[in-house]
Amino acid sequence: MPGPSTTPDAAARPAGTPDRASVQSRTGERDRVLSDVVAMITEVIGPDELVGIDIGDDTSFQEDLEVESIEFVALSEQLMARYGAEVDFVGWMASMELDEIIALTVGDLVDFVVAPA
């Protein structure tokens, strides 16, 4: 079994140096999750329904996408299948009131996946 390994970059970085690689990596991860979420929304709602809509962080599920409740469930199932092992969706959904869920934006969802509260 291979032992723990240290990458050359990490080993060469003096203690206390701003962890730029890590910041870039988080930004990259967020972009990847956003792109995943947009792809899932497109699949669930159907590309024809999204003509003229540019989905981004500020896009609201209710007001902009007019997502039906059951479609949001289908989207959350895809998210659980993709990230469920790392992310506590049950705890997150349980912590919100109905009006907070209704007000969710795509960015809120991405932020939760990247850095669960």
């Binding site: 007019e66 469930v73 349980a94």
Partner: protein, 276 residues
Amino acid sequence: MTPLAVPVAADHHLQVNGQRLHVLRLGSGASGRPKVVMIHGLVVDNLSSFYFTIANAVAVHADVYLYDLRGHGLSSIPQRSYHLGDHIADLLGLLEAWEIDEPVHLVGSSYGGLIALETARLRPELVASMLLLEAHFPVEGWATQMAGTVSLATYGLDDDSTRKWLADNGMDGTVGRKLKRMAARANLLARSTSIIEDLQAEQPFPLAALTAMSCPVTAVYGERSDIVERGHDLERLLPDARLHLVAGAEHRLLQDVPAQVRDIAVEWVTAAALGG
């Protein structure tokens, strides 16, 4: 008939009684936790009304099993067979498919409450307790009234009349794409299947049977609901019933007072977890 397809993750359907039923399980699956199955109401309802209100909060304490009734949500839409017995057969099939081999705790909302009650009456060994939210059960004249409620026959197919129908069923304020999708679903079910004639054929529930049901029941009704009398019937006739009347609320408890229903559901499931 073209179902309104929405892609879902591959493991979210089960084949039961020839139907492809959409299912969703929430909770850790750790041993010793109660198993809770939630059953939604008719036509403009599906498992999402639980998912966005009480299901996740209950899943902190129990394993929660949600499903869309045949003809609803993301389940298949058969042209015939919408009798109470068909829904009960689906529920029993799902319990088997989920490999649940212990008595379950049932949550039933509106018509889902009738499915829960009738299942507990016919198969008492399968049901540990029930939480009934505005449960319907047939008394004289119920079938005709229920069929009229779900029927779109008296309305046209244009946006205005569909909006009026949705408003009459508590979905006012629904606009645009969402309105069209919901209306298309309701129309498909009400006009292309036997659901209305099957409801009309339903026989009154034998009220005397309630007195013989030992299963503990927590019943929640809106104080201003048109079926609040059913809550009083349950409290009067069931040997072990507790009735909550929600002040000012009408029939659609999950939509109108979700936080109050969630608190009652969490208290109920906490007692179930303690074996109470």
